[in-house]
């Protein structure tokens, strides 16, 4: 029999309204599942059982009083630990913010709390969202539920693993260069990176402000749609946000032209991944789409542009961690400069320091034009190429990652090799576009393979519709037994 924790958010919402289950039962099922599998998965940094039970009780009281409840009322959700939650520790998986308790809620949290969503806790990530494996956390290494010897992907590895392990039906992550799509793909679930500006960044601890977006995870496309619809739209506290809303997700590809860019199927991409994505494209053709070949020649440069822009912004965004106002504070015995040096040298991990150094370098006197400005100009070229491509097709199909989930520790030593795994995802952030990742098969080891669909700005409804069409055709996505 299907366990309560295995149900999707959409199903649970219907069951709640039909009084087949109470919100408290749903919450207990989720907390029970966390207790049962967390020692294998290690997704959570903070479990907020008390808050979760209280939120569920409020929903049950509303239902008992015959009040209307919001679409996400009573649904358990895990929140990436770089999204500020008032009164609940928000660490960014960094020693620097080990004890930081925000006095305010991120806008997405305000929106979700207003719906009486049930937050089960804060989940693991690469420190300050810098990484693609979740191994850069100061606190713990999250494991892939499909094979706990392997990484869940990153940086939102905790979010993806929690959903894939059925600890929660929904999670929020953030995506700067692939941090939602990569772990969604590695963990065999659905993840959406919205258009830049579609979801408010207010309360998302910044990594690279011009690239960061909060995005939803779920095991079904309907669940991801439900969560995206609840968090999108303009926020007066985020000057880069835009008004937008989710349309009806039809679940059809009839008449859509889907582009295949040859640059995304080069030699770095594993044969199994290529084969799966091509097969999925073939299936979409069978479902009524037209497949067209396109070219995005600047793709090769995107990775370099991405690392310059993101590191430059990060070096500035992370300068505020100085041991004065909040967070880890180093030695107060010496001078102010000693405090700065000891705080930042002990508070940040190796990868964060490497990016701060890189970002500081590319902005420093004499190098701005050669690196930062050049990368920003290249960003325009890449965005223009996508815009031209969307004159020829309605959406673009690519792999998410060059390979499936790799083993823990496998790529830790070589930053450039690690960075190269972002090659298919960073272009989307560079161009400010929406991208969705959903499962399209598995490799010989049984590890999930993800497919990415990229659309023009604010085409989330279309992307979700394409994903839903595929999901329906394959009879739903597999869930890993644990």
């Amino acid at each position: 029999m299907k366990k309560l924790y295995e149900y999707s958010a959409t199903e649970l919402a219907a069951m709640l309204r039909a009084k087949e289950v109470s919100a408290s039962e749903i919450a207990e099922a989720s907390l029970g599942r966390i207790a049962a599998v967390e020692d294998q998965v290690d997704a959570y940094l903070t479990v907020t059982a008390g808050e979760a039970r209280a939120a569920a009780k409020r929903v049950d009281e509303k239902l008992a009083a015959g009040e209307e409840i919001a679409p996400l009322a009573g649904i358990p959700i895990a929140i990436k630990d770089n999204i500020c939650t008032k009164g609940i520790k928000t660490t960014c998986a960094s020693r620097m913010l080990e004890n930081f308790v925000p006095p305010y809620d991120a806008t997405v949290m305000e929106k979700l709390n207003a719906q009486d969503i049930v937050v089960t806790g804060k989940v693991n990530m690469d420190e300050f969202a810098m990484g693609g494996s979740c191994e850069n956390s100061y606190f713990k290494k999250t494991k892939n539920p499909w094979d706990t010897e392997r990484v869940p992907g990153g940086s939102s590895g905790g979010s993806a693993a929690a959903v894939a392990a059925c600890e929660v039906p929904l999670a929020l992550g953030s995506d700067t260069g692939g941090s939602v799509r990569c772990p969604a793909s590695f963990c065999g679930i659905v993840g959406l990176k919205p258009t830049y500006g579609a979801v408010s960044r207010y309360g998302l601890v910044a990594f690279a402000s011009s690239l960061d977006q909060i995005g939803p995870f779920g095991r079904t496309v309907d669940d991801v749609s439900l969560l995206y619809g609840a968090i999108c739209g303009r926020d007066v506290r985020d000057a880069t946000s835009r008004e937008t809303s989710l349309g009806k997700v039809e679940g059809s590809v009839k008449g859509l032209r889907l582009g295949i860019p040859k640059e995304y199927f080069g030699e770095g991409i594993s044969a199994e991944v290529k084969a799966s994505v091509y097969a999925a494209a073939e299936q979409l053709r069978a479902l009524g789409a037209e497949i067209v070949e396109i070219s995005l020649p600047s793709t090769d440069y995107a990775l370099a542009a991405y690392y310059i822009i993101s590191s430059a912004e990060a070096s500035s965004n992370l300068a505020r961690y100085d041991g004065v106002k909040y967070g880890f504070s180093g030695s107060r015995e010496g001078t102010l400069n000693d405090l700065y040096l000891s705080t930042r040298s002990q508070g940040f991990g190796a990868e964060v320091k490497r990016r701060i150094m890189l970002g500081t370098y590319v902005l420093s006197s004499g190098y701005y034009d050669a690196y930062y400005k050049r990368a920003k100009l290249l960003q325009n070229v890449i965005a223009k190429e996508f815009a031209d491509a969307f004159a020829k097709c309605d959406a673009i199909l690519t792999p998410v990652n060059p390979t499936t989930a790799f083993r823990l520790g496998e790529k830790c030593d070589d930053p450039v090799q690690m960075y190269a795994s972002d090659v298919c995802t960073v272009t989307v952030n560079i161009a400010g576009l929406p991208g969705i990742s959903f499962p399209c098969g598995s490799d010989s080891a049984g590890m999930p393979i993800g497919m990415q669909v990229i659309g023009p700005k604010f085409s989330e409804t279309r992307l979700l519709s394409i994903a839903k069409c595929y999901e329906t055709a394959v009879g739903g996505f597999a869930v890993k037994e644990m």
Binding site: C84, Y104, Y202, A239, T240, S315, D322, V324, K325, S365
Partner: protein
Amino acid sequence: MNNNFETVIGLEVHAELNTKTKIFCSCENRFGAEVNTLCCPVCMGLPGTLPVLNQQVVESAVKMGHALNCKINGVTKQDRKNYFYPDLPKAYQISQFDVPLCEHGYLDILVGDDVRRIGVTRIHIEEDAGKLIHDDSFDGTLCDYNRCGVPLIEIVSEPDLRSAEEAKAYLETITTILLYLGISDAKMQEGSVRCDVNVSVRPKGAAEFGTRCEMKNVNSFGAVYRAIVYESERQMEVLASGGTIQQETRRWDDAKNKSIVMRSKEDAQDYRYFPDPDLLTFVVSDEKIAALKASLPELPTAKTLRYVKEFGLQKIDAQLLSVNKARADFFDSCVALGRCEAKTVANWVLGDIAKLLNEQRVEITDTALTPEHLVGMIELINKGTISNTAAKTVLEEIMAKDVEPEEVVKEKGLAQISDASALAGIVDKVLADNPKAVADYKKGKTNVAGFLVGQCMRASRGQGNPATLRDMVIEAIEKL
């Protein structure tokens, strides 16, 4: 002062704007609140927070740009200036780098009898930093973040100023304009206007500029003057003795009347400016720019020159009037009534009214005085109804409460007596009481008449018509 050298000065003036809220958050923008009570996650730079630019800051800065004849860049952006300091919670200041909101302007200032045109390089908007409190009773430095995010405009002049006098006049004119536009409290003593001074010297007639030094912490008009005098003399001495000037940043210590080195050129900071990714390009429309220009009042230098030209005022008087917008507005309203001489109004505003305002430490708008009442009072003098002496009493009354001058005259019995028969007794008594003065007059010292008339005025409690009394005194002595 060494006469073979010329001093070259440029000023960077920081003025806090008096918007209701801070530049990037909705915290109140107010001076003097208890420490750290005007703060929120945004201005404290908490993780996850974002800045949202205040519309009014942009409008105020554009007004200043117009006032200083600048080109307004209607499409612009904000940049981050990165450096670590405990008064800067984000470790970067949001400012403007390569596209300032306003640039390529100038300001005409009056120095003595000359009008000098000083180039204005740029005006940009930025956020203020917090305040550090150095107090020996604590084992550390304290940080108050109330001032974090207070909007600033930075006005950078060209190196067009040539003396401490000019620099002082420039700074005074800037603060007057800020008050005219109503965009800043412009109080140097509260730190709402602050000034960095760049000074270099060069041999007279040289085409190249000398090496400049920047002086920080120059925070009063007097200090600007003193700092420039000190620094230019220091540099001239170095050069005169065969030395060279090192480019450096110096701190002005006004109490000790000297500057000390803060950092040399080698320690120059690398601010790593780049466009703030949290704030997109923003646009001020051509219509808005034009509307803000149309909203500008007449500015002080133009006013001064008009007063001289139109009303024949002395330049110094015209300048004294223009420097205070409230008084200049009051003067303009009086003159607009068209019932008396502008010069007479100016004399009253700069004389007795200014004296009373200074004594009471208030501004003209804080009193009950209206242009109608002042002009009414002047008319009573002109008609001979009251004397100048009595008018001073009337003035005190009409400044204190909203009452017609005629009523004061009636109530206090201040009407001037010109009827000789009513004054005869007074004249007789004064002459009888002052036989020596009368004798002196008879010996030809006719200037004692003034003294005797004064005695008569006093005896009449100011009500006697001084001209009538004078005639009567002289006539009576000659009859003796």
